[in-house]
């Protein structure tokens, strides 16, 4: 009885100490950011120049970037800027995985915000379910980016629906033995998913790394990289995450 009480007290103390240490680390982190004298409230044009400077140094292929969006912490401006940086960087697909379910309702506003931020920057932004409004490139060679909002329902529920269809119609997915192989099912799943490549990189913010049901079939080789511990999104921690990604080495089982 007594020893149990002591254990509980020690447990509470342990978590208290950890909380204090984490708090100190956060304060130190904020202090470092302040001291680094980074220009605050940079204009989008300056940020674009910064990104362009780093493009040649990050060589690993990055076709599809997913950001885990927590609308309680991320503003539409943050997300719009991610679109602009990614456009300039040359990423072809950027998806926002809506954790709280509020971003999908705010899609129109995100669209407006992206348009606002894009002014004067060459390139074409395709909204996955809207016609291309902003295809102007001024004759300069420019990138194209597709923007997509994903949610939990695009993951397990969608695969489940596909399994229902397969069970109704045997010709949808043909098996060569008793059990489907992953290649056989992959062919059928490709028909229900729009043609987006598997995500190469997932950016998450905050201390918890979790997939939140993001496209289970597609994330087998996806790297999970933290953009910031305090949920902030700026051009510096965005580039920092891309550098970390650049270091990741895929071995394909070998």
């Amino acid at each position: 009885m007594l020893s149990r009480l002591i254990r509980q007290i020690l447990f509470v103390l342990l978590h208290l100490v950890v909380s204090v240490l984490v708090a100190i680390q956060n304060v130190y982190h904020r202090f470092c950011v302040k001291m680094s004298n980074l220009p605050k409230n940079q204009t989008v044009n300056n940020e674009v120049m910064t990104v362009l400077g780093h493009v040649p140094l990050i060589t690993k292929e990055l076709k599809h970037l997913v950001v885990l969006v927590d609308t309680d912490h991320h503003t539409l401006t943050d997300l719009a800027r991610v679109v602009i940086w990614s456009l300039v960087f040359g990423i072809s697909y950027v998806s926002f995985h809506d954790i709280t379910g509020k971003l999908q309702k705010d899609e129109e506003n995100l669209f407006v915000e992206v348009e606002k931020q894009k002014k004067g920057i060459p390139g074409c932004i395709k909204w996955f379910d809207k016609p291309n409004l902003n295809g102007y490139t001024n004759g300069i060679q420019a990138n194209t980016i597709s923007v997509n909002i994903l949610s939990y329902n695009d993951g397990r529920p969608k695969i489940t629906k596909c399994l229902q269809q397969i069970s109704q119609d045997n010709t949808l997915c043909i098996r060569s033995s008793d059990e489907f192989t992953s290649q056989e099912l992959d062919r059928t799943l490709k028909t229900i998913y729009p043609s987006i490549p598997d995500p190469n990189l997932v950016l998450y913010s905050g201390p918890l790394c979790c997939a939140y049901g993001l496209l289970p079939w597609h994330i087998r080789l996806t790297e999970f990289i933290q953009i910031s511990i305090d949920h902030s999104i700026n051009v510096n921690n965005y580039l920092g995450a891309l550098y970390k990604y650049n270091k990741c080495d895929l071995r394909f089982g070998k």
């Binding site: 489940t160 069970s167 979790c210 080789l221 999970f224």
Partner: protein, 285 residues
């Protein structure tokens, strides 16, 4: 002492710390991607197979820590279908390691039963060599009723392959009229898979991807990436991961009840799987 659970790897102080940490919420299912054996071997300039063997020793220590922590289910990623692409020499060495360890397990079955460890091997069994498949089936059947710690070993496994196999079972279920299309929902798919959802997934050696492991099950799992190479993973690394889990884990999701059809289908599937294991034993003897 058995190979599979290393009893002598916890000092008095470590046990005390384990007891303090387990006062709080402990994950009910923990999964490991045991990465870094080859890098460890390279670092120490020893043979790759020695690195893998050291990795197995670490698994036996980890199982002891998990038993002490009161974690009822542990899943480890031992061999991926993609790993068959490695050199013949390395694949054969890994198969030999598995043969050796399963033989020892079968020899020390009394002790495994004393600890109450249930062994479950998840993966495409048809890809395993016949003799290994037989040993694996024997181990699974002999430990079927143990309930203190369930050890799932993902062998010849990938997450996509697991989902594909579940898809075939579900399609068969509809064909045989055990279930209807309307009975197919997310929960049924989850239960048709080989492995249940882990609450915490730990990957060692600093890699930050799932590598086709438990893709479906990790929807709400806390993913924890540790920089230590697997053979260098310590009880302290594990305790830090569990403290991290205690701080940030989302609350467990409530389980939904199955309907009669679904229950019957799952029961039939379980019986079919057991029968398959018995067939494997008979076929190769």
């Amino acid at each position: 002492m058995s190979d599979w659970v290393n009893e002598n790897c916890v000092s008095f102080f470590q046990l005390f710390c384990i007891k303090v940490v387990k006062t709080g919420r402990v994950p009910q299912h923990i999964a490991f991607i045991m990465d870094g054996n080859r890098r460890y071997a390279k670092k120490l300039s020893v043979k790759t197979s020695d690195g893998h063997s050291r990795g197995f020793d670490k698994l036996s220590e980890t199982l002891k820590w998990c038993l002490d922590l009161g974690i009822p289910e542990v899943t480890v990623y031992a061999f991926s279908i993609e790993n068959f692409k490695r050199s013949d020499e390395e694949v054969n060495a890994l198969m030999d390691l598995a043969r050796d360890k399963f033989q020892r397990l079968l020899d020390a079955m009394d002790q495994i039963n004393d600890w109450g460890v249930r062994i479950h091997v998840a993966g495409r069994m048809s890809l395993l060599p016949l003799d290994l498949r037989k040993m694996v089936s024997q181990a699974m059947l002999a430990t079927l009723h143990n309930n203190k710690l369930r050890l799932n070993i993902a062998y010849a496994y990938t997450g996509r392959d697991e989902i594909s196999r579940a898809a075939s079972h579900i399609a068969d279920g509809v064909n045989y009229k055990d279930i209807t299309t309307y009975d197919i929902n997310e929960e049924l798919v989850s239960q048709t898979l080989d492995l249940g959802p882990p609450e915490l997934l730990i990957r060692t050696s600093g890699e930050v991807r799932l590598s086709d492991f438990m893709l479906w099950q990790t929807a709400n799992t806390v993913l924890y990436f540790s920089d230590a190479l697997w053979p260098e993973f310590t009880v302290w690394n594990l305790l830090v991961a569990i403290i991290h889990f205690q701080r940030y884990a989302p609350p467990p999701l409530p389980q939904k009840d199955n309907n009669g059809n679904q229950d019957k289908f799952l029961q039939k599937l379980e019986e079919k799987r057991l029968q398959q294991l018995k067939n494997y034993i008979v076929c190769s003897s």
